[in-house]
């Protein structure tokens, strides 16, 4: 019973028109919730005590870590959507991973920028080719490559299938990249460079961090749904333009 209900729900969602009206109702609530969580999170992150070792810079963590977390979650969402595109040929899956790529790139950029701004007072330099930073940077390049790939092709469903393949190949590759970058790093790394690990996280930092992480995640989903709506509209515009061209021929 519940299973069949789930299936009908799922096929309801498959209809883009249904999806549009559903998300139209959800998005305002989601946006409001995101806003509230951000308000709480920001308040908490500026009122808690600083770390005795890293000073106030620990506050950068409250944006940096959630952004880094999202950069990976976004790729996972894209990989799942890519499976949806290739296996079930679901049109919403195409839309989903295309809409997620710019969001992923933006959150990865936030992670990189805040990481760099954290690194400057800690290490004395803007950038080190540390294994973790380097992997995030490679992820950023992959996002940009995907955006370029999507832009380069006219036919949206063909573009979706091709980029889905690329997303999955990239997804399989991520552990390999991570491993090889770490290996490369330990090969070269002089022992003196300060690692970011530091002491284990105090529960005092944990609360604002968690609130901010949830806020960022909700922000991602809000924007993702909005971007998916835009993408559906974009396709609709394309289809109607083709229709307009055909109709003009018939009338003339």
């Amino acid at each position: 019973m519940t299973e069949s209900l789930a299936i009908t729900k799922f096929s309801d969602l498959a209809n883009p028109a249904r999806f549009l009206s559903l998300t139209g109702r959800i998005i305002p609530w989601l946006a409001g919730l995101t806003l509230c969580l951000f308000a709480i999170g920001l308040y908490l992150s500026f009122t808690t005590e600083g770390d005795y070792q890293q000073g106030d810079t620990v506050r950068i963590m409250y944006v940096h870590v959630p952004a880094a977390w999202l950069s990976m979650m976004c790729y996972t969402v894209m990989a799942l959507s890519a499976i949806g595109t290739l296996v079930w040929r679901h049109p919403l899956a195409d839309v989903s991973h295309k809409a997620a790529a710019p969001l992923g790139a933006a959150f990865t950029l936030i992670a990189l920028a805040t990481g760099s701004l954290w690194g400057k007072p800690m290490w004395g330099t803007w950038w080190v080719w540390d294994a973790r930073l380097t992997s995030v940077f490679i992820l950023f390049l992959m996002y940009l490559g995907l955006i370029a790939l999507n832009r380069a092709m006219d036919d949206p469903s063909k573009a979706a299938r091709v980029s889905a393949v690329f997303i999955l190949v990239g997804f399989v590759n991520i552990p390999i990249i991570k491993f090889s970058v770490e290996w490369w790093n330990t090969l070269h790394q002089p022992a003196s460079v300060v690692r970011l690990d530091g002491p284990t996280i105090d529960p005092e930092f944990l609360t604002p961090l968690l609130v901010m992480a949830v806020a960022f995640t909700l922000l991602f989903f809000t924007l993702h749904l909005m971007a998916m709506r835009n993408e559906i509209w974009r396709r609709r515009v394309g289809a109607q333009r083709r229709l307009a061209a055909r109709m003009a021929s018939r009338e003339a």
Partner: protein, 219 residues
């Protein structure tokens, strides 16, 4: 002429345009260098200006072969050739549009890559400045190559092969000016002025050569 500039800019930012790809290529090429030479920050900061310049040179050449080829494929080139506007001016405007859409983003992105290369602030500024002054020369030289190769089916690689040797002087003076800004004994101005002179020189020679080649490529 303004119309041509606007149209070319519009084309390069519309879907399928190459403006994004050049910057992406630039970032990727520069980003893989440390994996080859190792993450030694001192070494990277020493070779940084050279690497950023080579990366910019390669990515500036990336989209150049399409400069006239797209126009030829859809027949626009014929109409452009027939007009009474001086062809040299038309080519100059097309080069300008290409530079604005493809090379200016490289100049803007170069400070970021300078940070990755652990370059000092002065070196970053010097590289961005020399790129700003030197990259138009690359576009102008490339325009000649693109015009020569316009009728060839696989002109893309050929343009790079033709143009790279001609771009050597730009690379020499661009990189040496960047280093001169950091290392004390060498003066910055002489190589920088020579670089500017090269750009101005090619701003004249490039469009002339390209226009001549386009006139003779008719079939």
């Amino acid at each position: 002429m303004m119309a041509l500039l606007l149209r070319d800019l519009k084309l390069s930012v519309r879907a399928g345009g190459g403006a994004l790809i050049g910057v992406l290529f630039f970032m990727t090429v520069v980003a893989v260098i440390p994996f080859g030479v190792g993450p030694d920050l001192n070494l990277l900061s020493r070779i940084g200006p050279a690497i950023v310049w080579i990366g910019a040179l390669l990515s500036a050449l990336l989209g150049l072969d399409r400069l006239f080829q797209t126009e030829r494929e859809d027949g626009s080139l014929d109409l452009i050739l027939m007009q009474e506007h001086p062809l040299v001016l038309t080519v100059l405007v097309k080069c300008l549009a290409h530079w604005l859409a493809n090379c200016l983003p490289l100049v803007i992105a170069s400070p970021l890559l300078g940070l990755f290369m652990n370059m000092s602030e002065v070196a970053i500024g010097a590289v961005a400045l020399t790129l700003l002054v030197g990259s138009p020369a690359l576009t102008f030289i490339g325009a000649v190559g693109a015009a020569v190769a316009v009728a060839l089916p696989r002109g893309g690689l050929l343009v790079s092969i033709l143009v790279l040797p001609l771009a050597v002087p730009v690379l020499i003076f661009g990189v040496s000016a960047s280093y001169a800004a950091v290392e004390d004994p060498a003066p910055f101005m002489p190589p920088f002025l020579i670089l500017s002179a090269i750009t101005l020189f090619f701003a004249v020679i490039g469009p002339l050569g390209a226009a001549l080649a386009l006139r003779n490529a008719g079939d």
